[in-house]
Point group: C2
Chain length 307, copies 2
């Protein structure tokens, strides 16, 4: 294991503490902590807040896994050989109030190949899923990520914003999952067919730390101003149906989720991303001209939020 891997893992653990402490303070309820071992190598620490006052369901998970990929799986990644190690932080917060958006973020570091013949890269991103559209929230969220990108030698906000819109898309609904944010992968290696870009790993690491460290700036102001907005039963119902879309994306398309489920990952840590409760109603459509219809319009045609 490299010192960069150790450093990234420690950064993710510290970030997990910082984020959960802040969110727990806002919520008034603590996260519960579970640590787990992976029989094939490594393990993780999951922090979960369930039935909070503000957060109806939330999880901030850190893992560090090592081992050998199957031959077929190894071929999908850059680098020779099947040995790998991966560490990452993944978080999702589903607030109770329909006016407060769901947020997701993930940052990860991977190495593949034997020592001396290995490749390494970072991936990650953050995206926002409102159920009631507040353009100023979307603008704030994107502005934070644009600033992070602008501070970095290795990240271009325009490219990462576009990648996010493309990734968090639900083809069968012809809708984006939310108003996006940033998404990147294979940052640090020359793999254009995967979206990867050769870059100094020192610079990439600095960018990822800056992004991780900016998560609370991106989300907390939004949560603070929406968490106590009065809402109607109809708005709550709309939220539960929008959560259905979130479930559809995660179970049908999300690579992390489907990969985890199909490779015997820790199911509880993977599916803590699913909101609860959730509804599906046949032919559920908002009225034309309503603010729900306006949100759908934005989800069907991703727009720019900052210059």
């Amino acid at each position: 294991m490299s010192t960069r891997a150790e450093r990234a893992h420690q950064f993710f653990l510290d970030l997990q503490d910082k984020i959960t402490e802040t969110v727990a303070t806002i919520d008034g309820r603590p996260f519960q902590t579970d640590t787990w071992d992976r029989p094939a190598g490594g393990g993780g620490r999951s922090k979960v807040l369930q039935d909070g006052h503000v957060i109806e369901k939330g999880g901030v998970m850190v893992s560090f896994v090592t081992g050998e990929m199957s031959e077929a799986f190894a071929q999908q990644f850059p680098g020779r050989g099947r040995e790998f190690m991966a560490t990452g932080i993944s978080l999702i917060l589903h607030p109770r109030n329909p006016h407060a958006p769901t947020v997701h973020a993930n940052f990860r570091y991977l190495e593949k190949g034997k020592a001396g013949d290995s490749v390494a890269w970072f991936g990650g991103g953050a995206d926002l899923t409102p159920h009631v559209l507040y353009p100023e929230d979307a603008r704030h969220f994107h502005q934070v990520w644009k600033d992070v990108c602008d501070r970095s030698e290795v990240a271009s906000y325009g490219g990462l914003k576009k990648w996010c819109d493309e990734y968090f898309y639900i083809p069968h609904r012809k809708e984006a999952r939310g108003v996006g944010g940033i998404f990147f992968d294979y940052l640090g290696i020359d793999a254009p067919e995967l979206g990867g870009k050769a870059a100094d790993l020192e610079h990439v690491e600095r960018f990822v730390k800056d992004a991780g460290g900016s998560f609370l700036d991106a989300y907390v102001p939004i949560l603070e101003r929406r968490k106590n907005v009065n809402f109607s039963e109809a708005e709550r119902d709309w939220q539960l149906h929008r959560r259905g879309r979130y479930v559809e994306f995660n179970l049908v398309y999300d690579r992390g989720t489907t990969f985890g489920l199909k490779t015997d990952g820790r199911v509880e840590s993977i599916l803590v991303s699913l909101p609860s409760p959730v509804k599906w109603t046949y032919g559920y459509e908002p009225e034309a001209g309503s603010k729900e219809a306006e949100l759908l319009e934005v989800l069907r045609t991703p727009r720019g939020w900052v210059d």
Copy 2:
């Protein structure tokens, strides 16, 4: 289009009427009917019962589609060429009462290839998903299907029961979706690698009609005796979580659902199969020795229900 395809389609339409009329009488609320056209050829008729007194969400869908498969997709099926036609009935009923099991059934007929050089087969099955285990319900359900198989020249209950257990399985939960029933595919063609079996299509058609016509016998007695059982809030909560498993199976593994979503099928008709409302709670486990734990035990180790 062959006369067998026309005959199968008409049988499915009549069966849809018969099943929805019977269920609507039990429920006290009618199904709503939507007919739809498929731009590339064919269309369907969906009958949906939402927020009924007995059925919280249910759909009985018939479709008849014709066209050309993509080359890649065509190669996954027996027969030459890309032309195909398919007609089928698919139904799912999610009762409100946690003591009344969810039921699913599907019967379909397919032809592939040009006239004079085509292959044809039937597929289908029925399976039961209880949230509270009543062994007598599982026995009754299986006995009906065993009797149908025993009356047929082309179906062996043992094989179809096993296929059902294997198909409706959730690998990441290491659980069956329910207590099974029967499942078959490619019946009528010699395709052992797909589970298909050469058989006289007259015999197969008679078997499918007998099976479709037996659905109400298999399910209605169970629904009648469980629909009004008193239940606790804890039982309702358990039901909502078990419904989460149903969503996981349908969105992650069910071939019909994922195929439909990824090939631009009619989303509302495909996802009417999803129950509502649904819950996911991190680390949700029944108490040892409870009847919920007993159900899990059965789902983890499929058993025989009839001799």
